[in-house]
Assembly symmetry: C2
Homo-oligomer: 389 residues x 2
């Protein structure tokens, strides 16, 4: 249905394998909520042609947010997670949750006004944060670069104010989800690597996001790098990948030792955009360091696609990608690299919001949610009015 | 149903969420094939108590095989993957597929005879091989230690001779499946590490085996070890974990440079069993090397259980486990290790056959298979004879 193909009631029963009455109930709910619309008549081999139905992606909207250390991006999307309107702001995540999420609520109202819609039209909200998140409860968990956020109930706080279901995850998981759903929907196993101030990965295993037992899966940044030695990392350990290949380490190599967090990332990216030779050499070596760790990752997970995203991967300079490829293809097993693509992100700066929207849409269109909708709309819409084919 | 609880027809309809007619059809198929048996009457709140049904795990049997470099284990199990009869033989996998699988066919007939059953009673066959396997086609793919097996259609060859569906996978994947299904059925994310001549891992992600795009996921043995340096590995690369922490490397340290493959593994294990101090020190260091690579694995996957199995982990000496734990808890992120267990295998030498049986049972009891059964038995059994509650 979500593929945009008009389908008849009989086709839906066959495709779903569900009982006729279950399909009828769900279709009534979807029709009552405008999620399904009659889509004209299908060709028939004889007799009265049956009515078809199409999914209406604009019936409800989704608010998606992607927060970095120093920016916020809010987007209003349709139920295909396509961005309709968006707003980007410079902000400091260290100002704490209420200031940051307060901006999101204001941005949401401006975006809804642009679209001529209301908060009641929101099917859900998806939020990405640059740190560990307990996905089940929507709380930030000891995020190292987000002072004031530890344990804050992000999901509940936004839900109480906006009146729609809210899901929260870390930014890299959502980038993986966004890139996968838009560019690689049929790929089973994919790894998305964000390379910026921090280095992290989002893992798609069997077309599902692999969050791990505590939601901390994908932490590449604090894997020991072969070249890491005893370089001190902000996490307390030594020799971590992030400590030698993150934006701060590169800025340090370029004699900008004072630059921290987002400033380091911005500086390195600017140098790459202007083609500074020292910066290009440094990012190529960072690429090789990241490649060493990704080679293990490829041996372990055997994905068919590795996507590079994040500020340093989106500079337009290919040296990072070249460095990564150089090592992965040399170090990983032939069986694992034979059909492996290592490519830059195509969703680019939108990966995060598209992923946040996808997460919210997946929950909203889950059969359980549709059944709940059925109970809601049963009181408002008469089944007869929803039309039987 | 498989939990052994008797259930009524109404309960099954509610639990499955499937149409009444779908459930009735599947139940008729299962009753016709003796997979389901009437299990007495349930308590009722009034009126005639409805009949309950229980799963019959002995209706059909499974042949499970686990091949190592120098041994074969064949087991006959019930549909709960419980071993009923088994046979172990010393054999050389390098003798090639026809000799090795020929032994399996003979063993199968002996095991069936012990159980008083026939080949026609087999619901399926599961086979584990000590090398890369293309799971979809059941072929061995460039297995480094299995001369003569490359591209051999293991699944087809056995199926044609035994007349039951055959699934093939690599040994470590099946050990992970076996340990997970018996000991940790409710754990979402688990990593099983086999430590013997080779070192490899089987990954359970979201309760499913993660095989990867080409089925080569879990290859820990050829991940670069921090201490690996330029030690030559049999794979052609240098510094691989297996080259410094596999049985052959340890035998080499114990001045048995001539020992290869299974002989090295057997020798090291014997030294550990007798408490040889040099062997104990060497295995502890191997444990730390394995721990370094597993620490990355824990950061990446955030499992809640890491299981150590394989000949060197089952020697009874805890030094390997101690070495592994030492490094994982020091190197992985606190969020990922907070609730992490690193434990020895409980299914031990049976992990492989239990996993092979589990794989075959999962396919046999898949709804698609049951629907096929329905079409088969519809010709033999009248629906009325199958009894309606």
């Amino acid at each position: 249905m979500l593929d945009g193909q008009p389908r008849t009631r009989a086709e839906l029963i066959e495709l779903s394998g569900l009982a006729r009455s279950t399909v009828a109930g769900r279709m009534d709910a979807l029709l009552g909520a405008d999620l399904l619309q009659p889509g004209g008549q299908s060709r028939s081999t004889g007799g009265r042609p049956p009515t078809t139905f199409v999914f209406n992606p604009l019936a409800r909207l989704v608010l998606a947010a992607d927060f970095g250390v120093s920016h916020g991006r809010a987007a209003l999307t349709d139920l295909h997670a396509r961005v309709l309107h968006e707003e980007v702001a410079e902000l400091d995540i260290a100002d704490g949750p209420e200031a940051t999420l307060g901006w999101l609520l204001e941005a949401a109202d401006r975006l809804l006004a642009s679209a001529g819609r209301e908060r009641a039209d929101l099917a859900g909200v998806g939020i990405g944060l640059p740190g560990p998140v307990e996905h089940e409860t929507g709380r930030a968990v000891k995020p190292p670069i987000m002072p004031g956020w530890d344990g804050f109930p992000v999901g509940d706080w936004v839900r109480e104010r906006i009146g729609a279901p809210v899901l929260v995850d870390n930014d890299v998981n959502l980038m993986a989800l966004g890139e996968h759903s838009v560019v690689y929907p049929h790929v089973e196993h994919l790894v998305f690597v964000k390379i910026s101030t921090g280095i992290g990965a989002g893992i798609i295993s069997g077309r599902q996001l692999h969050r791990g037992a505590q939601g901390s899966a994908g932490d590449l940044g604090h894997v020991q790098s072969p070249r890491g030695g005893d370089v001190q990392c902000s996490c307390g350990n030594t020799g971590c990948l992030e400590a030698i290949a993150g934006a701060r380490a590169i800025a340090h190599e370029l004699d900008r030792t004072q630059l921290r967090g987002a400033d380091a990332s911005r500086f390195v990216r600017e140098q790459l955009v202007r083609g500074d030779r020292q910066a290009v050499a440094a990012i190529r070596r960072a690429g090789r360091d990241i490649g060493e760790v990704l080679a293990s990752c490829v041996n372990l997970l055997n994905p068919s696609v590795v996507v590079l995203g994040g500020a340093l991967a989106l500079s337009g300079d290919a040296s990072l990608l070249v460095g990564v490829r150089e090592v992965i293809y040399a170090r990983s097993l032939p069986l694992a690299t034979g059909e492996l693509s290592v490519v830059p992100s195509q969703t680019g700066e939108h990966a995060g919001v598209i992923g946040a929207a996808t997460m919210a849409v997946q929950q909203f269109l889950h059969p359980r949610s549709v059944d709940a909708l059925l109970q809601q709309t049963a009181q408002q819409v008469s089944p007869a009015g929803a039309g039987r084919a």
